[in-house]
């Protein structure tokens, strides 16, 4: 699926939750639980995303011309949030990741649900994921 198709799918799922904050958070936590486990050996200092209130580890690798992301967090809501990003961006081409318009975030009303502190953390995650894509893109082109 393309980044756009996945985003539309997420928007459709969240629309079923009727904007109820409690239901949305519960759903986000459930998504976190479904995130593929990250090996403990990857949970090292250099994989920690700076700028998040809770701890978030992110590691990546390139498979063919696709970027694969693995992540974990010590809090369940954050884990759910990053699982959304992984669902949208993992397995996509670096170029597409770099240029993707992540409109689903606003469409599902993420800002109101998670508040300003976590929104900042969320932005840091996206930034970090894009940085990896940029690095892979350079590598692929060389």
């Amino acid at each position: 699926m393309t980044i756009q198709e996945i985003q539309n799918e997420i928007i459709a799922e969240f629309s079923l939750l009727d904007g109820d904050k409690e239901m949305i958070l519960t759903y986000i936590m459930e998504l976190g639980e479904r995130l593929p486990p990250m090996d403990e050996s990857l949970k090292v200092e250099e994989n920690i995303i700076k700028g998040c209130q809770s701890k978030v580890w992110l590691s990546t690798r390139l498979e063919g011309d696709k970027v694969l992301y693995l992540a974990d967090s010590n809090t369940q809501i954050t884990k759910g949030l990053i699982s959304l990003l992984i669902r949208v961006l993992s397995g996509q081409k670096p170029e597409d990741i770099m240029t993707a318009d992540l409109y689903f975030i606003e469409k599902i009303g993420m800002g109101q649900v998670i508040g300003s502190q976590r929104s900042n953390g969320f932005s840091s995650m996206i930034k970090q994921m894009r940085l990896y894509a940029v690095a892979y893109q350079t590598k692929l082109q060389s």
């Binding site: 904050k21 958070l25 519960t26 936590m29 209130q53 809090t75 369940q76 809501i77």
Partner: protein
């Protein structure tokens, strides 16, 4: 707390005085349990702010016109109200600051710089707020002095024997929290002050969490410095109180230079104003100081003992109900506590609990509560903290308990 003497409060009527409480959050009635961070303001305080700005805003002390007279009188009336509220001998011993944090920094920068030498020691406790740690660290670094820390027990109480061992002729200051913001523990400050004075040390008490709950008489306590913040006392943000004994305040150098704090300025030599003005450089936070009097009147109207009796009952009820939920562990089980209930829910991060409670309209605080060394000692990243004030009800605690039961059932085991 004696239940015999305390008159029961009409909580419904009291709630009517707090406009902010009557709103919905996420479609649910607001339950405000973040009172240890800041408590809400009664209408009388809000009206005092409004009344000042719409009726007699003027710069104080130097003016000769009617508005300046009125503003000065209101400003100084608050000082008198604070004097009575804390039981200080003289009104000049009451200094207005921005808050607890500034009060501690003021003492560190003036009394501390003047009195400390290399090798001297300052004693604090493990449960201090960062604002009663960092100013002393800075001072110790500057002076080559040593910071000593009183250890605590699992229940969150200072270990008295260990404190006694730390005391010596080298001890110049003991700076300790009256009631812990993270655990609720009430420290035996009277005893601490006696023991510290016996070795010739001065004592600063951080009363941020005590001012709205505990009876206070600085003369009986014989405390050297006592600091607190108006915003935790139903008053406005941006104002705090530093009480200091006259002799100490007079011996201390000024904190900041500027207007108000001088007697006479020349390029050759400037002489300083008398206390309290020596420590109040610049135009103070007049409006908020004026409104603080309304907050003190509010507390006095009901009496701290009646307020404490209500809060103690809430705490006891919450301790039983929350403590009985499977998966919840209470943090801080001291025998004497203010109305702070700290806990963790096994298998769920405090941030997640806090956000889920917020979705249900319940405001609590989560995290380290600006007490990272304490959290480290307890082996925790943070806790969830519910703290109660005069306007909270048993029904609100029931709401919290039922929300927590939901979460406890949902969490991954």
């Amino acid at each position: 707390m004696s239940t015999l003497s305390a008159p029961t409060l009409d909580i419904t009527a009291i709630r009517q005085q707090f406009p902010i409480l009557h709103q919905q959050i996420n479609g649910k009635p607001l339950v405000y349990f973040d009172n240890a961070a800041t408590n809400q303001k009664p209408e009388s305080v809000i009206n005092a702010l409004n009344g000042y700005y719409s009726g007699y805003n003027a710069n104080i002390h130097r003016g000769i016109h009617a508005l300046a007279e009125k503003a000065t009188a209101a400003f100084e009336d608050t000082r008198k109200a604070v004097q009575q509220f804390i039981g200080s001998r003289e009104v000049e011993e009451v200094i207005f600051t921005k808050g607890t944090t500034e009060g501690i920094n003021l003492v560190a920068a003036t009394w501390g710089r003047m009195s400390l030498q290399a090798g001297d020691e300052i004693i604090i406790s493990t449960m201090e707020h960062h604002s009663n740690i960092v100013p002393w660290q800075l001072l110790c670094e500057e002076k080559g002095a040593v910071l000593r820390v009183i250890p605590i027990s699992e229940s969150g109480e200072i270990i008295w024997e260990e404190f006694e061992k730390l005391l010596s002729a080298k001890t110049k200051l003991v700076s300790i929290v009256h009631a812990s913001n993270a655990l609720g523990t009430i420290n035996p400050v009277q005893k601490v002050i006696k023991a510290a004075h016996a070795v010739g040390a001065k004592v600063l008490v951080d009363g941020a969490q005590a001012s709205a709950h505990l009876a206070l008489d600085v003369q009986t306590l014989d405390v050297d410095f006592y600091v607190f913040s108006a915003h935790k006392l139903y008053g406005p943000t941006g104002v705090g109180i530093l009480y200091g004994k006259r002799a100490l305040l007079e011996a201390m150098p000024p904190y900041q230079g500027g207007g108000e704090m001088i007697a006479e300025v020349s390029f050759e030599k400037t002489t300083y104003n008398v206390i309290p003005y020596k420590f109040e450089a610049g135009t103070p936070n007049i409006a908020d100081v004026v409104a603080l009097k309304a907050a003190i009147d509010f507390v006095n109207q009901y009496g701290k003992s009646a307020i404490a009796a209500h809060e103690d009952a809430l705490l006891q009820y919450a301790t039983e109900k929350v403590g009985a939920i499977e998966g919840i562990r209470l943090v801080g089980t001291a025998a004497h506590k203010v109305s702070v209930l700290s806990f963790v829910l096994e298998g769920m991060h405090p941030f997640d609990v806090g956000m889920m409670l917020d979705a249900k309209g319940i405001a609590v605080r989560t995290g380290h509560h600006c007490t990272q060394p304490l959290m480290k000692r307890l082996g925790l990243e943070g806790t969830i903290r519910a703290s109660f004030a005069i306007y909270n009800t048993f029904e609100e605690i029931d709401t919290l308990v039922s929300a927590l039961k939901d979460l406890a059932a949902k969490r991954k085991k």
